[in-house]
Symmetry: C2
């Protein structure tokens, strides 16, 4: 089969790879759509020691089951494979399982390939009316869906009356904003500094978009929930300024390891900061269902490119030439 | 009356002051016990712009109502006076009311004095068997009680099986540790770097005490709840290391405004950080009840000194010469 393989720092090669062999508890999935994540970019730049070359990246995928009783079943893939035996798995926090694996990180190859293998429990059936390019968004949007669920658990006001702010107009931020809307929030402002990206986002229904210097920028102490979908010191500084007394910061980004939070203000104003990582199986299923029934909107903010041109896509994203929050690679399957 | 007045940086004067006059909604309380808080020390050192000299400090007080239908009633004082009209007050978060006042901060004088005035709703009756020096601990312990209540709200494991760590053996830390025990936690380790203080704390029932370099120091990723009762960058660094995946950091301290948190770890391990400030009326009442019925222990970790010798007490605390986590000043009332 063909795969887009990370072969060294800033090097991706579209090349032949052996067909993956499903283990006893796995099935083979023919990949039809596979999104590029910020963590793929991170690995491509050589910044992720957990993803050494050579490795097939990609973990936001949808496709079709090949062989076995489910042959032909259209599915979206939850890429997190947890142990199902530890205390965290037992309490529905599989995303924190110490033995969790994810495709695109050894020992599991990723989904920038014609085929990938997965346990059937990680597959969710996609209805015929949903394009697989949309179904592949379940993974990135589930990160925001999960964060919203954690944030609402801490909030003492009703979600329908909450004022909310999302920092960052990438797929994580857009997914978080759409998740807020789908979970019942009416007042959502997304902050995005890049004007080109802002223009691209303005057409998405469900939330307002503004730049950091525009009049619509949320005031200090104005938001019940702030979702930081970027995770740099500067975005955390904004988040801890914008959050209101008793409010919540939901922190999804991994931009910088430390700094930025105004901890004195957070203490005096009793602001909660929730570090959030990926999603649970429940979040993934809920997100997929919301994609299928239209609660997450038209999902037309993606750009699709052939998998064979994947390296070009990485370069364009890195150069800031891609206004779409998400690029989805589509394998050609020897077409 | 006599009062211990903050007259300038590092200056406290035991002097005559006019008797306070209760407003329409207030009663006069004869102060019998008034604890020294870290925030009093902060003001005394000239570091709190909200507490300009001249000012009577002190906000951890118990005493006896003078005059009116409640004359002679023994009470402990909730020093936070909230507006009772805003959305935060309406939802039981009076501690975050933007119009809240506290005695010892203008326009309200503090309780290092023979008398103080308070609205009756801020007074809780102290039973005869409870010394007023113990009743005055309701305020500092309520900070920990509140923090534990916020922390348990986020925790997904049962509180009785939780492993917990408290950083700092001052009154906030000790109060938090005792609050954990009173709310059902069995496994509590308090970390205190000062050996003299540790020796003093070792006799308190309900929790273990250890130094940062001792074998009993909690391991990385071991605690369900970490309570930082200090709030320096170094203590926050410890907290974000010790907290386990899915765990909670409850942050009460105001030592330094920024820094220390390992935000990357908190994001990947889904650790929640709760900034907490003081206590609600409910927390204060619950803490007082727990003092009265013995759930917070013998409370023999205090040292009492006469109010007239208050300046000496401030100097001794600052010099590190006071092993007790709390010094309580007792007015002599012209004795």
């Amino acid at each position: 089969m063909k795969a887009l393989v990370y072969t060294g720092v800033k090097e991706l090669s579209y090349m032949d790879r052996p067909m993956p062999q499903p283990q006893d508890d796995e099935v083979l999935v023919r990949v039809m759509a596979s999104g590029i994540c910020g963590s793929d970019m991170h690995a491509y730049l050589g910044h992720d020691a957990r993803r050494p070359a050579p490795l097939t990246l990609g973990h936001e995928a949808a496709g079709v089951v090949v062989g076995g009783p489910d042959d032909g079943r259209r599915v979206t893939i939850n890429p997190l494979v947890a142990c199902q035996a530890c205390g965290l798995c037992d309490t529905g926090r599989e995303n924190l399982c110490a033995r969790r694996q994810i495709i695109s990180m050894p020992p599991r190859q990723g989904a920038f390939a014609d085929y990938v293998t997965m346990p059937p429990r990680n597959l969710i059936t996609v209805p015929d009316h949903t394009p697989l390019t949309h179904a592949a968004l379940a993974e990135p949007i589930a990160c925001g869906w999960h964060g919203v669920r954690l944030g609402r658990g801490v909030l003492t006001c009703d979600l329908s009356s909450a004022r909310t702010v999302v920092i960052g107009g990438g797929a994580i931020g857009v997914g978080a904003a759409l998740s807020l809307a789908a979970q019942g929030v009416g007042d959502i402002t997304l902050i995005e500094p890049n004007e080109t990206r802002r223009a691209h986002l303005a057409d998405i229904a469900g939330f307002e978009v503004c730049g950091p210097d525009e009049p619509a920028m949320p005031a200090e102490g104005s938001a019940d929930i702030v979702i930081d979908g970027v995770g740099f010191a500067t975005t955390r500084a904004s988040a801890s300024t914008i959050a209101r007394a008793g409010g919540v910061i939901v922190h999804i980004g991994l931009g910088e390891a430390t700094g930025g939070l105004d901890i004195r203000r957070m203490t005096l104003q009793e602001i909660t900061f929730i570090g959030t990582y990926t999603y649970t199986a429940r979040d993934f299923a809920e997100t997929a269902a919301a994609i299928f029934d239209g609660r997450l909107g038209k999902l037309d903010w993606i750009e699709t490119r052939p998998l064979s041109k994947g390296h070009r896509a990485f370069k364009d994203i890195r150069a800031g030439h891609v206004p779409a929050p998400k690029v989805i690679l589509t394998p050609e399957h020897d077409a």
